[in-house]
């Protein structure tokens, strides 16, 4: 019989397999050298579940602390992945971003996101649990805002995106947005919303991983614009010659 727990565990299993495919594809195409933090992030997410499962069998208190420590590490690494995406997209622009600039941006966003999360949070419950919810929500808002800021900049300037950074931004952005939305829905419903939250969270993450697989697969190192024919330049530069003189 299919119960909620069964569905969730099956989905986690599928998620694990998809993660292995993503890691293998990234490694096979040599992209782990260009995107080291994304590669480490995927490895971390992959090994996290079995570790937590093993600890849960032994000690529930140890599981609680290990879970939140690993969650904090995953969040930290996810911000490094976002920084990696920023660097790839803004590499040759005047907005060339340094770690200190990115850190400042994150601090600014953290303040705004924390204020928003505090306003949104409506769940009554233990203080620790509420603090965790607010912090998780803050992180998600920050992640979504970082991707949205980069996308708005890209729409305005028409930045060039390679396949992998775009796939990472799209997949993670969709996942974080969905999770944020469902978390609010759960807050409104109370404990009844837990199942919807758990299933949607896992499902949206799998969609994100599928997006990553697709964009890693489509990644090409070479671009046709590199071999532009010289005689064609005069055609489009012609109308500008008068103004340049």
């Amino acid at each position: 019989m299919l119960t909620a727990a069964n569905i969730a565990s099956h989905m986690w299993l599928v998620g694990g397999i998809l993660l292995i495919v993503t890691i293998a594809l990234l490694y096979k195409r040599g992209l782990h050298r260009d995107f080291p933090w994304f590669f480490r992030y995927l490895l971390l997410v992959l090994v996290r579940s079995p570790i937590l499962f093993a600890i849960r069998m032994m000690d529930s208190t140890a599981y609680f602390y290990t879970y939140w420590i690993l969650e904090a590490v995953t969040v930290a690494v996810s911000f490094l992945v976002i920084f990696e995406v920023y660097r790839h997209v803004l590499r040759s622009s005047t907005l060339n971003i340094r770690p200190s600039t990115f850190f400042t941006l994150c601090v600014g966003l953290f303040a705004a996101a924390a204020a928003t999360a505090l306003v949104i949070e409506v769940t009554d419950g233990p203080a620790l649990l509420r603090a965790i919810f607010v912090l998780t929500r803050t992180v998600r808002i920050m992640q979504v805002c970082l991707f949205v800021l980069l996308l708005i900049g890209s729409l305005f300037f028409n930045f060039y995106w390679q396949s992998v950074p775009f796939g990472v931004a799209l997949g993670y952005g969709i996942y974080a947005t969905t999770e944020m939305l469902v978390a609010t829905f759960r807050s409104s419903l109370g404990p009844a919303g837990d199942l919807i939250f758990a299933v949607t969270k896992v499902f949206s993450y799998q969609v994100a991983v599928l997006i990553w697989i697709l964009y890693i697969y489509r990644h090409r190192e070479h671009h046709a614009l590199q071999t532009l024919p010289a005689e064609s330049l005069s055609e489009w530069m012609g109308p500008l010659e008068g103004s340049a003189e």
């Binding site: 996308l151 046709a224 614009l225 489009w236 103004s243």
Partner: protein, 173 residues
């Protein structure tokens, strides 16, 4: 429930940004032919004439206020069209420069990088001029932002010509 609705709308806006992002990504430059097909011709002289303050002064003095307002509206509409084309060309320049910078090294990469910087500055100026134009449509006056954008467009187009000098590209090939 109100909070949920607000967040739902915010999430929809975010997803809309991602949707436009995907559309833009799928329409990235593929080749030089693609670049040429998207390039919008801009008659710089006609544009300069449209935004020339002395031309505007002349029209203001020669025409009746009613005729001047009608003509000025048309002139501003045409100026807006030109600005839109220059903006799109600046965007094309940015992407082409980034692609060339990414897939080349040395002098070509450095030139492409400098060109991207110029094109980005131009894009910003075009945006400023577009905002200024919107205000001017409501209150017709001469527009220094438009003139500055025009001057920069000429410079950026020239520097792009140098960055993609046929000699340099064929030598590399």
């Amino acid at each position: 429930m109100t909070i949920f609705l607000v967040e739902f709308v915010a999430a929809l806006v975010v997803l809309l940004v991602f949707f436009y992002g995907v559309r833009k990504y799928r329409r990235q430059l593929r080749s030089m032919e693609d670049f040429r097909a998207r390039w919008k011709a801009v008659d710089i002289e006609a544009f300069a004439n449209i935004i020339d303050p002395s031309e505007e002064r002349f029209l203001r003095e020669s025409l009746s206020p009613k005729d001047f307002r009608r003509l000025q509206r048309e002139r501003l509409h045409v100026a807006g069209e030109y600005l839109s084309r220059v903006g799109q060309n600046a965007q094309l320049m940015i992407q082409a420069g980034q692609i060339i910078e990414r897939h080349n090294s040395g002098v070509e990469a450095e030139r492409a990088r400098a060109h991207v910087r110029d094109a980005m500055r131009l894009r910003g100026l075009v945006f400023r001029a577009q905002c200024s134009l919107a205000v001017q449509k409501a209150f017709p006056v001469s527009n220094p932002a438009l003139e500055q954008a025009l001057r920069l467009y000429g410079n950026a187009a020239h520097s792009f010509d140098n960055a993609l000098d046929p000699g340099v590209v064929t030598a590399r090939m």
